[in-house]
């Protein structure tokens, strides 16, 4: 495993793909290392932040080298349908970049079945894998200072729904009224790793 330093207390572990990410994260959680403060999955990496009062990055690095990474239980598989109004400000630009009509962008976005890879960026923000290959477009050159809550967006190979108004550089295709982050719920985050997500055009 290739590792990279992240400040004074972090180590970024690079991995080939999301399956290895889920596997390492599960193994690290199961190991209950007392000095580990955060384990945060990315698409092809896991960040471990250590508590400097209990251990150091160097000590954790040695622990990681000796860690025997084994099989993990498969993630949950709920199916979540997301109703979408396709009125996003970037719809035409995505159509231009992908050389199809805006209607075709909408059709292809709905045709795929997505899987939740991990949560991150902001509270409840789920990174969804499964986007139609023809819709893989780069992020905007300059991120918007604020993207509206419920915005349905794509970037690279990923799709997502913005849970709250946040800065963001993804391309916006539309929006949903379905709350994806709600602190009044037992589980504030609608999406969990392993869930299946489908988008359905409405209105």
């Amino acid at each position: 495993m290739n590792t990279r330093p992240v400040g004074e207390h972090g180590l970024l572990i690079e991995l080939p793909g999301i399956d290895e990410v889920h596997q390492l994260r599960a193994n690290l959680l199961a190991s209950h290392h007392p000095g580990v403060a955060e384990i945060v999955a990315g698409l092809r990496s896991v960040l471990v932040v250590v508590d400097p009062a209990r251990t150091s990055v160097a000590e954790f690095g040695s622990f990681l080298e000796d860690l025997d990474v084994g099989d993990v239980a498969p993630p949950s598989s709920r199916i979540i349908d997301v109703p979408v109004i396709y009125d996003g400000p970037d719809l035409d630009e995505v159509a231009k970049l992908t050389d199809v009509s805006a209607d075709q962008v909408v059709a292809r976005h709905q045709a795929s079945t997505y899987t939740v890879a991990f949560l991150g960026f902001s509270a409840g923000f789920a990174y969804l894998l499964g986007l139609d290959q023809s819709l893989h477009v780069p992020r905007r050159t300059t991120p918007r200072p604020s993207v509206a809550a419920g915005s349905v967006a794509i970037a690279g190979e990923l799709a997502a729904v913005y849970p709250r108004a946040t800065p963001g550089g993804w391309r916006l295709l539309g929006h949903t009224e379905l709350p994806v982050w709600d602190l009044s719920r037992d589980r504030p985050a609608l999406f969990a790793p392993g869930d299946t997500v489908r988008f359905r055009g409405v209105g």
Partner: protein
């Protein structure tokens, strides 16, 4: 009867903050907490609280508050016209005026007993992006915790660390410094960056010599920490503060060391900052 602090007026952005919400980054929940943690800790110590008690963080604009029942308070951080670095008794019905910060950004008001709102995910810190808490506004009544079980107030006056108006922040390279040209690395440590007005508790949006990449391929989104210096394709760095997104898709060239995060938190829009490499030996384990 428990004490209440009433907000009469707020000039800038005021929120309740403690030392942050840790262990929820995997749900996308940022750490939040005070921009200038040493100042929050000092304010709490001055009134005999635990260092991590919740206090009020006031950014730039000042505030006016009224005590309901007598209480001890202390003000630290950005100077603001009020008595700084000393415990002050605010008698029942009296008001405390915190003027606009004359330098720096963040002023802290700690109250003996702490701001006693309900914690969410283990912290009382406001996190606007996650919808936890709200900006303080006139008419808010903040409950203050019981004052009986706290320690004695140890000192009458504490010296405040001066606010550095042109700070130099120490950083550690990585995790993605290899995506940038040698010239970009030299630029980052030799040029001056100005703090733009769109900066906030999420991060300082900086403007200066653009940082050039040598690897322009899309980066798979990965986790970030407070202090990360992220570089979007336009080359203008963003220095992430406690309300930062937990993951991002632009490369992080370097991370500011913990000891210098307060300087970033106190950097005013319109001011300038510079970066230097941290000495490798100022270790991880103290």
């Amino acid at each position: 009867m428990n004490a209440v602090l009433e907000v009469l007026a707020v000039g800038g952005l005021a929120t309740v903050q403690d030392l942050g919400r840790h262990g929820y980054a995997h749900l996308g929940v940022p750490p939040s907490g005070a921009l200038d943690r040493p100042s929050l800790r000092l304010a709490n110590r001055l009134v005999g609280n635990d260092e991590g008690a919740a206090a009020i963080e006031i950014l730039l604009g000042g505030a006016r508050l009224r005590a309901h029942t007598s209480m001890w308070v202390a003000v630290t951080g950005a100077p603001c016209g009020a008595a700084m670095g000393t415990p002050v008794q605010l008698r029942d019905g009296k008001t405390l005026n915190i003027g606009p910060a004359t330098e720096g950004v963040a002023t802290y008001l700690a109250v003996r007993g702490g701001v006693d709102i309900a914690p969410v995910l283990g912290s009382r810190s406001t996190d606007l992006l996650s919808g936890i808490g709200a900006l303080l506004a006139a008419g808010d009544h903040l409950p203050i915790g019981p004052q009986t079980s706290y320690r004695a107030m140890p000192v009458d006056v504490a010296p405040l660390e001066p606010i550095d108006s042109e700070p130099i922040l120490a950083m550690r390279l990585g995790p993605r410094d290899d995506r940038f040209t040698a010239k970009a690395l030299a630029t980052l440590t030799s040029s001056t960056y100005s703090v733009t007005p769109v900066s906030n508790r999420v991060g300082l949006r900086l403007e200066g010599s653009p940082l050039e990449r040598r690897d322009d391929t899309e980066l798979a989104p990965e986790a970030m920490v407070t202090g990360s210096i992220q570089v979007p394709p336009d080359g203008q760095p963003i220095l992430f503060l406690p309300d930062h997104p937990t993951t991002g898709g632009y490369p992080v060239i370097a991370v500011v060391v913990d000891a210098d995060l307060r300087k970033a938190g106190q950097a005013r829009p319109g001011s300038t900052i510079r970066f230097r490499l941290a000495a490798r030996a100022t270790a991880t384990h103290q």
